[in-house]
Symmetry: C2
Subunit: 330 residues, 2 copies
DNA sequence: ATCATCTGTGCAAACGGTTGCACGATGTAA
DNA sequence: TTACATCGTGCAACCGTTTGCACAGATGAT
């Protein structure tokens, strides 16, 4: 049915191994022969069967991106999808396919299946999957964790943005703007990156320490912020764990007639598309998700080619200053 | 190196073809034999090589999801990533892998490569790729378009939500709430789904027709809405093409001290995570992205199994009524 | 008891490439 | 001229499955 390498070989008057070598460019071939092969390929509209290729070469030509999302909302968070965009781009540039696999850990087997059934040559994993059991089965199969694992931090291979540094930067910025009493708002305490952001907050904070952890919703952030702001000695600035928290906070400020940034300063993590349209526009600790995605793929390829051992890459974050924290500005 | 079907066969004392039949369950096998094979598989921790399997069976066991995103923002739009979540889920339930491929049309070849190199058994395509040239090369390869193609609408296979009906529903709802002069705000005119929403708006609208197309940004929506609302006989309600447009509109209303929903009613397409936290919470024409994704995969599988010809599936939308359009409520 | 049918399993040929080895032709140095 | 690399290509084994065909033994009908 489909045209194979043998058909091309016959038409070009050479052996199929020669065609293979022309395609892969690994051997020296007479320009004349090469031309005849190319011509035959063109004439027959030949496309090599990647499955046969993979079987023979032992390489699937794909990488797997594992996600751990319960629902569509978790899956569609900007952090993840922006990184995925960069991952796909970098992989495509190297001729690799990207396979996404959600909820891979739940059945306890999908990650293992992806590797052992030779569906992928390497994996990009979320930090939550990093557990001793998995690391045992993964052996020296190439993988990169996108984020900092809570455990086995120094023995695994990962790429992350520096959340601690980001929070420190946020606090220092607020301090420079003259805010005195800075609080931290939002995020589940149990999540690693929240913990690290809070640590950064604590490192840089010199005033009273106020940490208001939420369940992750804007609603909850609103409630907690409202209560905190009602008190007499309320905080005059907040570092928010994400845009949702900042959104709840803004609402609370509005209702209590506290002006932002005059009375309350706000810096939030994550640059949501809406952040700059908020009222006032939000100052943001921006995570370079594109760089994060790209670096993770590059590192993964180095691992696949066995050029390096486990490595850790920490990218720094950027502060995007907007009106919500610029006291002098207004 | 890796354990193969032959190792299992040897240990179980049978032929490898028997092992294959046990795995695939297509033939009748003596319970006793079956048990021995399973035991051997367990003992050796055998995982069938999917590449060899695919080569022999001619099926890759993967579907490709093609996207057309220039940048990370376009890629991470909630519509797409929510659908992708559902697609992945439905595919996984059938034991299929999901491969994502971005910008596949640009090089003019990636879609073709995915099919002709046997990387996928079927494709989910964005409407923008549907052009006569592609349909020629795609032949009877299984595919489903996620959205309504602008061309070849009746000859292609697609799944979409009923944008026209959604807009009609929005207008009728606003009319019932007593709004008289309803405008349409947002969206590029050239995009198919925007056109269809506008058609729905026109179908149901009985007052003056006002269509304010934007470049897609909240900024632009703000500007256009501001100008429109400054006039004496300004609209008293808007159907917004997306949440961003609604966001710009809300800002304009606030600055002009027009209260929502008393003076201005708003309904917007797409249920962004922040929509219900806005002030006031937005009434939404909700698209069931999960259903959209699932239906497209189910249809694709029917095509792969050659059970059906090209089909079109149109899903209706739901109105989620919140404060932004409930005049009587407040 | 005989013959036809059915069941479970083995054999071997695909599936469509890659690649180590061999070998003739050509080039280079003595 | 001889001896020895080097280069380009063919041969054939191999990657790990699936599957059509064959066949022996069990089953059932007559």
């Amino acid at each position: 049915m489909a045209v194979t390498i043998h058909d091309v070989a016959k038409l070009a008057g050479v052996n199929s191994s020669t065609v293979s070598r022309v395609i892969n460019g690994k051997a020296t071939i007479t320009p004349d022969t090469k031309e005849r092969v190319y011509a035959a390929m063109r004439e027959l509209d030949y496309h090599p069967n990647s499955l046969a290729r993979s079987l023979a070469s032992g390489l699937s030509g794909a990488i797997g991106v594992v996600v751990n999302a319960r629902d569509a909302e978790a899956f569609s968070n900007v952090f993840f999808s922006r990184s995925l965009f960069a991952i796909e781009q970098a992989a495509q540039a190297r001729g690799y396919q990207v396979i996404i696999a959600n909820g891979a850990q739940s059945r306890g087997g999908t990650i293992e299946a992806l590797m052992k059934e030779h569906k992928v040559d390497g994996l990009i994993l979320p930090p939550t999957t990093v557990k001793p059991a998995l690391m045992d089965t993964i052996g020296d199969f190439p993988y990169v964790v996108l984020g900092t694992p809570d455990t086995l931090r120094s023995e695994t291979c990962w790429v992350d943005n520096n959340n601690e540094q980001g929070a420190e930067m946020a606090v220092r910025h607020l301090q420079k703007q003259g805010y005195q009493c800075i609080a931290y708002l939002g995020g589940h305490q149990k999540r690693g990156f929240t913990k690290r952001r809070i640590r950064g907050y604590q490192n840089a904070n010199s005033g009273t320490e106020t940490i208001l952890n939420t369940d992750g919703t804007a609603e909850n952030a609103y409630t907690l912020a409202f209560d905190a702001l009602k008190t007499d000695d309320h905080p005059d600035a907040f570092v928010c764990n994400d845009n949702l928290a900042a959104f709840g906070l803004l609402k609370a400020c509005k209702e209590l007639h506290l002006s932002v940034p005059q009375e309350i300063g706000i810096v939030a993590f994550d640059n949501y598309p809406l952040a700059e349209y908020m009222d006032p526009p939000l100052t943001i600790v921006d995570i370079d998700t594109a760089m994060l995605g790209e670096q993770s793929v590059q590192l993964l390829f180095r691992r696949i080619e066995n050029k390096v051992g486990n490595q850790q890459i920490m990218l720094s974050t950027n502060l995007v200053v907007r009106a919500s924290s610029e006291r002098k500005a207004k």
